[in-house]
Symmetry: C2
Subunit: 505 residues, 2 copies
Amino acid sequence: MSECAAYAKLQERFRRRSLIGDALGILDWDQATTMPEGSAAGRAEQIATLSVMRHELMVAPGVADAISQAIVDLDAADVCADDWRRGNLREMRRIHMLADALPGDLVEAAARANSACELKWRSARAENDFPSLLPSLREVVNLVRQSAYARAEALGLMPYDALLEEYESGTRTVRLDPLFDRLATYLPDIIPRVLERQNARPSPIRPVGPFVIADQRTLAVELMRALGFDFDHGRLDVSHHPFCGGATGDVRITTRYNEDDFTESLMGVMHETGHALYERGLPEEWQFQPVGAALGMAIHESQSLLVEMQISRSRSFLAFALPRMKAAFADAGPAWDVDNLYRLYTHVAPGFIRVDADEVTYPLHIVLRYRLEKALLSNDLDLADLPGAWNDGMNELLGITPPDERQGCLQDIHWPAGLFGYFPTYTLGAMAAAQFFRAARIAMPDLDKDIAAGRLAPLLSWLRINVHGQASRHSAEELIVRATGEELNPDIFLDHLESRYLLDN
Amino acid sequence: MSECAAYAKLQERFRRRSLIGDALGILDWDQATTMPEGSAAGRAEQIATLSVMRHELMVAPGVADAISQAIVDLDAADVCADDWRRGNLREMRRIHMLADALPGDLVEAAARANSACELKWRSARAENDFPSLLPSLREVVNLVRQSAYARAEALGLMPYDALLEEYESGTRTVRLDPLFDRLATYLPDIIPRVLERQNARPSPIRPVGPFVIADQRTLAVELMRALGFDFDHGRLDVSHHPFCGGATGDVRITTRYNEDDFTESLMGVMHETGHALYERGLPEEWQFQPVGAALGMAIHESQSLLVEMQISRSRSFLAFALPRMKAAFADAGPAWDVDNLYRLYTHVAPGFIRVDADEVTYPLHIVLRYRLEKALLSNDLDLADLPGAWNDGMNELLGITPPDERQGCLQDIHWPAGLFGYFPTYTLGAMAAAQFFRAARIAMPDLDKDIAAGRLAPLLSWLRINVHGQASRHSAEELIVRATGEELNPDIFLDHLESRYLLDN
């Protein structure tokens, strides 16, 4: 296979890149769960050093040529021409171009501005003081804009699309605009009907705590195991913000317990378990190669939302979980009833805070942010006018106006952290989750019965074959078509909402 | 300071090296305390990748020239010529030469042979089967010998000295031989007298457990705090083999609890706390530079043994600790008495196992290993004859013969792991500990009273100034002279043994 010498060398380079990423994953996990507080400065230096070394691997002289050569070799030599290798080269090229498009001093300036702005944001949010954030957020947006334009030029994309490309490759404004416009029309239309129907039913009753944390953990572990979480290659720990992290073959999720409400943590654990199953289901043969990694944030979010929204909040799953909840906790009163829990876990209430939103109103939070960040990027909206534009948008989409900026445009860390183009992946993920789940249901007519009986292996197996095990072999678009028979189709998500929130008895 | 451009670039390179080392420290710690078992293969890959990258930083073209240039610059430019910078260059040169002296394929072959032999050793020890280890240990020794000769040539040293150089720079056989011969003569002479005197006294009574692990931990943390352990920059966790690890400014020690005997863990914690205080006391101004790192293993061990042997097993410290032990545990019977605990924690008993040995017999275990590994390296001893030579040596030095090889030459992991030249540092450390402690006592006449009252701040302060804060500014030899007024003097250690084991009432 001497025709593939360039490719073999690239594999070595990207393997190293992936393993540095794994080391960073463990350092990040440790920082969030374990690290003594005083060690933060040293940890920042370790992370910066490994990040720079990883970046250097990508922008080293010769990488671009090697990729071009490997593509030529691949076309010439049939022996190398399977779609895994093609996918690997496609991902290598994308990763390389994203890295190479940005001059080093811009990357450094952005990293510094983002850190500084994140810090500012913590106090600005606490003090409900948008003006104090303005100068530093302006700097962040300015550098995001420079990065977007630099990458747009290198990749031949529109600037906002160049931002999307980092989080979910292939996502384009031209597709998102009609999708999100549709949600912006449809959801405000059905929400009043959902609420009306909800109000005609008994109010859900909350289980009464306190719920001992050790018992919450035991229950969480039991349900994680039922879903197929592999504790021989993973962990459940505690952190302030829940996440799924760790390394290849070492998938670690976290949660935060509330003694008064076990649901909060439990549904979070289910969500992160969905991310973890994806990571753990990636194909071993392609470990440490770009094609063996998970696709972008939208597909990742589809796996967490599939487990959280489609499975864990379903009546079937709650029927399976209820006896386990009862066994885990002392008697918690009349709440221990499947119908009640179902009403509780599918309760809809328009609110100000995205992370607390139900699945019906959530997409409108995303539409708002999507529109605003596009406007900020294109300079159609001046940053000073953000609070007003935010409140107008909330009013238009959800019919409510935040009483202050803490509950408005200061609520999320994303923009201060320089994350523009990330928000849409949440809603793309919700749509893909509904679509994958429907396809799984069609493939397995007994799926709901299986779930009610705690038999989750068939579903996991379907996901392993159709999603997890495919890793980055195909683009996200193609993955969806192969797994579900059609392109991402918002109707399936809207059907799910209708059937759960307007038709279900 | 343009004269120091070469030096400035070296600083950047070595800073990166140090931060990779810190990341490796966290990965190692995680592996020993936290990592799910199934993740071992991935972790090995991460560690190998970072280790290779760190090695590449050292053997990159131009490093040797830059060091030579920086030394010339330093001599020419007074502005750079303080002894910290000189020390930094000395350490850079040493680290570079040690790395550069070994061809890459030898490093790789040795790493592979050591891993394989370690695995073999686990089963060979369990099954008491030396012959099954022989082929793989032969390969290890063969590669150690190649490394020793390669480094000896590059550094202008004798082969065994080239091995010592890695663990404690400046240590030479020509000094160790008479030192260890002296121990080999002196200790077998006093041990019978120590035992005779010990037998004439009441046998120490063991506190009766069970000792709840949470209570053991609480006591350990209390005593760690008393000694000055900084929990804002460190942790105490559990691992199979206790160690002190972590990263710069994030010093993590581990222990292993035994419900039947709290002493085992507690004295281990005190030992690791000594290592941790050293790491935490390194000067912040020189963080991430070679001169800011701890000296070799002998000085490191001096700090752990100073805390464990000199302080924690002293009557003064036990007087301070006893009420805390009583408070931590339910009544444990007649053992709760300072004199009894002192007899217990200074009990001498020649035995087969090094890690269980008391401080009087311990050096003889080291002398044995020192003589044997020199003989193996020089081919004066064939590996097949090791068990017999071991037993003869034990008999000569300690008057006992191991009943099997598990309690003989199979007990330690060091040789299977390729660690030759490491053992002497344990005893050099014990000697230095006695010498540092005597100097501290002379400087602080109230030291014993302070210790009995739990006032350990003055001692810590003395160590910070005279040892920890000096980092690698001077060689180990010079550090000892500066801190204690004389070269390493074995008489001080022997005086300590005499006064504790033959004269103390």
